[in-house]
Subunit: 126 residues, 2 copies
DNA sequence: AACTTGTTTCGACGTCTATCGATACAGCCG
DNA sequence: CGGCTGTATCGATAGACGTCGAAACAAGTT
């Protein structure tokens, strides 16, 4: 790897990402993984689901709490939850009759950090 | 325009969003607008384009700088840039022969704030 | 065991998206 | 002016995605 650090280098997270993208171009792998997460956020229903789960009392919600607010069928909600889970944004567990979902904060933090603007801006508006 | 600069304007939550979604559920409108932005980020090429633009010297890059790093055709890159522009993530301008793109920092900041985890975790006592 | 309620999976359908090659448009230069 | 280079648009096509109803699966109740 001939990568010698004179600089903090970061080595940030495990494999992929997490310094602001404004700092240096994303590699292909990092972009692929991150785009999968953003894709999970690219649907309004999933975005609302995520915020419902995150803001729910106790930090988790059962599916039964999540179908009411939407106009789509229950299987559709289940599908969206699966997408969020497979993107690594939420975790889930069955407890008795109900299945509970909660947000995985590290995932959100990762995306948030990526989009962060380091200093003043990338470019000042004219 | 009675808008004179003293501050970077901000005004963020005008209609839509911007407190961490962990705090309170997103409304339908907010979710719709935000999902459009995330959709623009849901493609690896667009993600890399954005980071290339953002990290480019001077905070902006011309299209000619952006086609080299990718395996796709020039029209495809142009298409992706259009998607980023229509999502409000980048601005562009023609200067002579070349067209330049730059990141709109407020847009990234908005998304970043949305995904931010307020305190320790999603769990908040009532 | 049979019934009931909560959740996921399956198969199908229409729409949206990424990509391409061809082509049109915009400025520069000889 | 005519040609050249950089960029955007167009039309077509293959694949992905959101949605549904039906059916399967899971756990509790009678």
């Amino acid at each position: 790897m001939s990568k010698q650090a004179g600089l903090p280098v970061l080595e940030q997270d495990e494999a992929v990402c997490c310094a602001p993208m404004v700092r240096e171009p994303l590699g292909e792998e990092a972009a692929a993984e991150l785009s999968r997460m953003f894709k999970a956020l690219s649907d309004p229903i999933r975005l609302r689901l995520l915020s419902l789960i995150a803001s729910h009392e106790g930090g988790e919600a059962c599916v039964c709490d999540l179908i009411g607010p939407f106009d789509v069928s229950q299987p559709t909600i289940s599908h969206h939850l699966k997408v969020l889970r497979e993107a690594g944004l939420v975790g889930s567990e069955r407890r008795g009759t109900w299945v509970y979902y909660w947000v995985l904060p590290e995932a959100l933090a990762k995306l948030s950090a990526l989009l962060e603007i380091p200093a003043v801006s990338a470019k000042a508006p004219a």
